[in-house]
Symmetry: C2
Subunit: 468 residues, 2 copies
């Protein structure tokens, strides 16, 4: 194994078992931010992290109120003259349904071979924990950090970061930095080290179609009234063509087209599409015509139903016309689309195509903006050197399909360039049953973070400001 | 009140309270045939009815095994020379979800004004109970019935009558009769006495669309894979055009077109469409273009989603591509469509239009055939005279939108003409929360049944055989 420095490596080696136990303890708290009944668990998680930071020697540690689940803040600012980095992870996790598909309980972490299985093991408690341990090891062995760090650990990422922007606005003075590191992304297919340079934004809406106050007998009323579930299917089917193109007028207006260089970069990525397909177990991959799989994932917007329901869902038959039907529909957005503008286009189109005889309403549940970071930014290059030294190969630069709204918030509210340095393997079942994290990625991730700070310490802080 | 004969009317008057208590007792047993956990309740209901028949003096009473929920059989065959009538009702009821919309618990009947509220109050325990009480009153006051009766009370009507046909085949010799009376229909809009001369059949299928083994992160996979819920919506939307015409090839091939006389009869029905619409609380009625509301309900086939589900249904947002999505889809069929043939057309069309990248399967959950009875049949006319004498106005003849598969079974297996003599008011929330029955219809229904038997006793049994 490549080492950082001998004392630090010895420290990490001696604390391996304790580190795993601490990781498991963090995973055991069911911090599901979307479910009100887990509010106390979210707070307990924040307190757990705050105590851990304090024990390592991080200062000004605070479980900060936001109006929702708290943010954990802490800093260490004694690296005079060195750059200051804002480190972001989130401690909240996705809901766990369908629970019956989990091979082990989601909040009882188990290690199987090189994997640790639990909700949040990768997204994002595992990556947060890796930063905690890198900080602990540095302070324990060197008595100091090579750079100034400000930690911002959020508790509402999986439920829309409702309160974060307001908190960032209010705390702007305390959060000055040279750039931000967000660890909530992952490696490329084949577990290839990667730096994410682009994220998609999101427009998340709910469509509600309402007919009568109660379900109707489908014999007595079939053919007479509009069926809300049929109407909903009609609406959804009208949103996207069989060519994968979204039909909402104006939807693509602001999309930055892919340049020849962009397309060449996508084509060069070491992507084993047959293996990827086999792993998914699907008959074929499907998406917007005219774009490769990686282009569709990284650089093209899309539209997906995240949930749909209405009427009878039990075994057997029930002969009703459902009183109402519902769908959650979201679009992933790319630079330079705007989530609010997209929602308005979506609402206006749905209202236009809504079938007669029922009442259709559209609600905006969440919006987040897309983000692009330059590959040649000095902080991105420092991260690349840290990954190369730790994992023995140069990272690839990828455009990820997911959304991390805080990325755009850091850029917009705090004026910070963002480096997306994440360590989860692809296909780690984020948001799904049996989420797992690769323990080698986790362990090497700690070393990579240490090396990243050592690399950043060599940079001239004045050269790190966000360009233009 | 118009009376049948004085002794009988006095008897009914004296037993009014006991009758209501008995009615409520029958409604209290939650005989939901579709849910396996209610199997014992279905059997208890059958036993309750058998005991009631025996107490009235009906003979050969038996809780007959069918392989599913039992049939209650009983007969009284001492009216020498008079016609023999097979009387059919069903004692099972629909599921009660969504339970939270019931104003009182579905199996705790309450009387509010002229209404009794409970699951099964109209469909069909109330009508079954009305026959029990007519029989009891006749035997108690006259010591005999005017006609020979064979009771067949089924327990699987609401779950597809899976076992009835086999039982009818096996019991064919015991079930010989001159015609059948089925009491599982209702009055016309405005609570106008009616005889149903046509019922729709049904094809009920489930469409399952399967993608990956687990839900996928909609960021990581959005735009790359087919979304099963989007695909399902696409399939459903392709089944019916905005003109309300079903697009399944061959679907209309066997439909008997409406004659000018048929259309004139529909137009003459006393139908208050604005009141009907206002009662439903809908912005407008919607259906196949070129046909009136009553024509669409009574004489045209249709296609409805009875239930749809897939992915996240909770509050807030969950950013997944559902692993699978499902819909229950049924068609109401009219003469001379065939449910099996329709299912094959449906399956073949769904398979043809199923989007790529997912696996789509179609299952046949249930089929039932449409039915038409001649208005001028002597038994139909006897029923008309009984209704006229009891309710003070001539009945209208209607084509109902619902399906009673047993109707076609009686015609096909037993060779019996069928008279549909039912007493529930329209808009009584059959299959929905807050099902109710009009207690005047129930009380007068008992008198009408007595009169019906007195009218049938005057008929020449030889003239009752099923024509053609």
């Amino acid at each position: 194994m490549l080492t950082t420095d001998q004392d630090l490596e010895r420290y990490l080696d001696e604390h391996r078992d304790a580190r795993l136990e601490s990781y498991k303890a963090l995973l055991r708290i069911p911090s599901i931010s979307a479910l009100p009944e887990h509010a106390a668990d979210c707070r307990a998680t924040a307190e757990w992290i705050a105590a851990d930071l304090r024990a390592s020697g991080v200062e000004h540690v605070e479980v900060a109120e936001t109006g929702g689940h708290p943010v954990v803040y802490g800093d260490w600012l004694h690296a005079d003259g060195a750059p200051t980095v804002l480190v972001y992870c989130h401690y909240d996790v996705q809901p766990v349904d369908p629970l019956e598909l989990w091979e082990s309980p989601p909040f009882e972490p188990v290690v199987v071979g090189d994997r640790i299985l639990a909700r949040g093991s990768g997204d994002d408690k595992g990556q947060l924990h890796l930063h905690l341990r890198a900080t602990e090891a540095l302070l324990a062995t060197r008595g100091k950090l090579p750079v100034n760090l400000k930690f911002v650990f959020e508790g509402e990422e999986e439920s829309g970061s409702e309160n974060l922007d307001r908190w960032l606005e209010a705390e702007r003075d305390r959060l000055t930095a040279d750039f931000a590191v967000i660890s909530d992304t992952g490696f490329f297919e084949g577990n290839v080290p990667a730096i994410t340079v682009s994220l998609r934004g999101m427009m998340y809406a709910q469509v509600d179609v309402t007919g009568t106050a109660v379900d109707l007998h489908s014999g007595g009323y079939g053919g007479v009234v509009q069926n809300p579930a049929n109407a909903l299917a009609q609406i959804i089917a009208s949103l996207k063509g069989p060519d994968g193109r979204i039909r909402i007028p104006g939807f693509y207006d602001d999309v930055v087209p892919l340049s020849d260089a962009d397309r060449a970069a996508f084509a060069e990525l070491p992507f084993d599409e047959p293996a990827y397909l086999a792993n998914l177990g699907l008959p074929e991959l499907v998406g917007e015509v005219g774009f490769s799989t990686l282009e569709r994932r990284g650089a093209r917007p899309t539209l997906d139903v995240n949930g749909i329901w209405g009427g009878f869902q039990g075994e057997g038959t029930k002969t009703i016309i459902p009183a109402h039907a519902h769908a959650k529909v979201s679009c992933r957005l790319v630079a330079n689309q705007d989530s609010e503008k997209t929602f308005e286009q979506f609402r206006s189109y749905v209202e236009e195509i809504a079938p007669p005889g029922v009442v259709t309403t559209v609600r905006n549940l969440h919006g987040g903006e897309p983000s692009l970071t330059p590959i040649d930014h000095p902080a991105t290059q420092a991260a690349a050197r840290a990954l190369t030294a730790t994992f023995g190969r140069e990272p690839v630069y990828i455009r990820e399909g997911g959304s991390i709204p805080v990325c755009a918030s850091f850029e917009r509210i705090l004026g910070l360039p963002v480096v997306l340095l994440g360590f989860v393997p692809p296909n780690q079942h984020a948001h799904a049953p049996n989420e797992w994290m690769d323990l080698n990625n986790y362990e090497l991730g700690i070393r990579a973070v240490v090396r990243m700070w050592d690399e950043v310490a060599k940079l001239d802080a004045a050269g790190l400001a966000r360009p233009g």
